[in-house]
Subunit: 176 residues, 6 copies
Amino acid sequence: MNGFACKANFSASDFFFAGLAKPQPINNTLGSIVTLASVFQVPGLNTLGVSLNRIDFAPGGLNPPHEHPRATEILFVLYGELLAHFITTANVLVSVTLKQGDIFTFPKGLVHFETNIGKGPAASISGFNSQNPGREDIPTSLFAATPPVPDSVLSKTFQISYQEVDKIKSKIAGNP
Amino acid sequence: MNGFACKANFSASDFFFAGLAKPQPINNTLGSIVTLASVFQVPGLNTLGVSLNRIDFAPGGLNPPHEHPRATEILFVLYGELLAHFITTANVLVSVTLKQGDIFTFPKGLVHFETNIGKGPAASISGFNSQNPGREDIPTSLFAATPPVPDSVLSKTFQISYQEVDKIKSKIAGNP
Amino acid sequence: MNGFACKANFSASDFFFAGLAKPQPINNTLGSIVTLASVFQVPGLNTLGVSLNRIDFAPGGLNPPHEHPRATEILFVLYGELLAHFITTANVLVSVTLKQGDIFTFPKGLVHFETNIGKGPAASISGFNSQNPGREDIPTSLFAATPPVPDSVLSKTFQISYQEVDKIKSKIAGNP
Amino acid sequence: MNGFACKANFSASDFFFAGLAKPQPINNTLGSIVTLASVFQVPGLNTLGVSLNRIDFAPGGLNPPHEHPRATEILFVLYGELLAHFITTANVLVSVTLKQGDIFTFPKGLVHFETNIGKGPAASISGFNSQNPGREDIPTSLFAATPPVPDSVLSKTFQISYQEVDKIKSKIAGNP
Amino acid sequence: MNGFACKANFSASDFFFAGLAKPQPINNTLGSIVTLASVFQVPGLNTLGVSLNRIDFAPGGLNPPHEHPRATEILFVLYGELLAHFITTANVLVSVTLKQGDIFTFPKGLVHFETNIGKGPAASISGFNSQNPGREDIPTSLFAATPPVPDSVLSKTFQISYQEVDKIKSKIAGNP
Amino acid sequence: MNGFACKANFSASDFFFAGLAKPQPINNTLGSIVTLASVFQVPGLNTLGVSLNRIDFAPGGLNPPHEHPRATEILFVLYGELLAHFITTANVLVSVTLKQGDIFTFPKGLVHFETNIGKGPAASISGFNSQNPGREDIPTSLFAATPPVPDSVLSKTFQISYQEVDKIKSKIAGNP
């Protein structure tokens, strides 16, 4: 296809988005929220292979372990202080402390997460080399999927009892 | 590079591998073991973008939740009966029962897992569209990384206590 | 496009296929038959860049010289014994004997072929790094095309007489 | 190569960079300065296909017409107010006014430029889908190359006299 | 998509084009004209990633500074004598004199231009690694866009007065 | 790698080649000769994904059935008259007559061939979307490989006797 089957008429607004400008309200247990600027929000990104997102963190907030199946992420701290990590395929945890303006890289498909370790709120902007990076969230994909992942799988995976599995499922389903 | 900086002299053995022919011994808690035929085992795969692996399952064995950062997987059942699943980025669990000779697809970067639901051992061969797909294993990356993922992150992610985190860590570290 | 213009609703069956499970009947002169599991049989492979096929061989059967324009192939022997070959662009013949469970690689676009050298039937499963590898079969493309390749071309190419060309054409057309 | 010939040992600092955190001094005629965070500054970006940069603008400052041969750019306004433009291959000028937090896209290889139209300084962060996007700056490539572009070419291109060409050359060489 | 959503029925004419066979009339100030053989003229090129064009030059004619956002170009001189140049991202001017049958390369996205330095007409055929390379023409994109690039931008970019900007605009608009 | 591990110092000559300018002497049975301008002859093509070649044809000359594993070809007739063909994966022969200046496309990996049907010599220039397209020549790969393709394979493939196989082998080995 290569940039061919696109809109017959376009305007500047197809390449523009204002939705990352302001912090979004954070009303969940984890204390973080992600706002996307991918091809769904910015139609002009079609075929161009790039997108952004914004993450807002409450004090102590966590963007929980997740990975992007189709993109590497490079994160820039707008304000606040973050502790950021990714885990390699050799199970090495790679960690940095990030202050305002620092950047860090999360290679394609590797599990990563960030915690707001500052006193106030924090926010970041990330660039992705896909117009639709996707996000596989580890806790909700495993403990809040529809239909649910069988207890037997989760019990064996994490070496916990069925009751412990069900307790996590009910907490995560209740507080995504 | 495009197939350029390769070996000056090659032989047929660079494109051959016998290491997937036999079941491998399974001596772990989960009851499964993966054998790779990627560019590290088959040097002729360099620049060719394809590889295979073999998975052996004990009765009841689980290949635990994991994803491949750089490849889609298409699995063929050599023998036995498997229950296979992947989870989409919308947290939909997609499941099938597979008998000998059936195939199933695990899209790039999505978390997936398989359980041997037959009475005897089972085995599969998978094709990947990368010479080095990589594997991010969810339980060991989160609970047995070096250095370890902080208890605070795992406690918040799975909404369990620090003691519960430490219990899982010690079990998984002891029985990878 | 990048994984975008896909089905609005999908099910597990889009990623599943049972058609490689059993040997297919072999009723041709060459003694081999190929069964595909590409995007046409497995619609969920769309945009994922991977596929499988199965080849069944009668004793002495030949999968004749051919190449895949859009994929490298990596072949695994299900049972039986094969003599497999590919020819490089420098006209080097690369050959191996393969037993059950052995694998061999056919680099993208290179002519290759396999013979069943065992006493009984043989079968293989191959992985491809394309959802639609294509197959250019050398004998039928040259001697059984529609419309036919001119006798003058084949006579000059193989340095044989027009009668010899016509004899091959009639045999291959009659016994594809 | 596909992520193969990388460093044998890496550390978190290979994926980190602090050089985009602060405004850079602007001591040129145009009133803007670009700071890179590409694979040269962030070695961990090797093979990952993504990078960032920061642009600082003095009041009235211009990031002059240029294009990136190897990447699409998606720009986020850190602070200030910008008037941003790109020109399509059909010579259509696409323009937007951007306030803090707004984003805009510059498709791969298209000439683009931004002006600070606010009262104070402005700054932006851009994501690129290449680890080394490159930058072809129109005024300096044409009027300050080494060796120089012939006067005859520039005279004919812009339909100006040789003296006018030389005047521009001397101004741009003196005030890059 | 990968070569999937193509025409249901095709014919040889989809892969054929006669439009590069003859010199095109040159009735512009610059003394050159480009004729395309891309996917728009040759529909069979869809998904194949290659195209050609022909450039005719009057004596002294210039193909003015431009770049192709989606392709590298490799030019072959059909007849005549050309002086060809490209400018690197480090502002190095790379130049060669080309006689009949010589070839020269213009890397993807780099500004380049050619002058007919022979006594008679000249012509070239170029190969591109895109079915739709695109062309960003520097003088017309900057001085004849619709709507026009602001005088303030061009004045600052080339360090010339508004009157000089307007004079170039009117000349280029009148003699594209 | 992505355009990274290139020469530290380059010159214009790395992007230039004069070797396609003149017809090459044709001293073989088939009556055609190919001259390459790929990355081996033009080192500046490294990472750029494009190349050219020239084919010279004696009257009646044939460029025999072959395919390029890594590129689509688009051919331009310099002079003379050619009958050109390719064969699809469905064994459809697609044919055109080409006069001076006409172009035709040979999709990646498909077998194709051209005959000079004019009274005098003919020549063509082709563009490829690879810096190293490769060429798998059907008659020499099958009948003049080292070591040789087994007679049993060729006998079965073309349904001819071992003597006929050996006759072709000796002719092609003697007159490549």
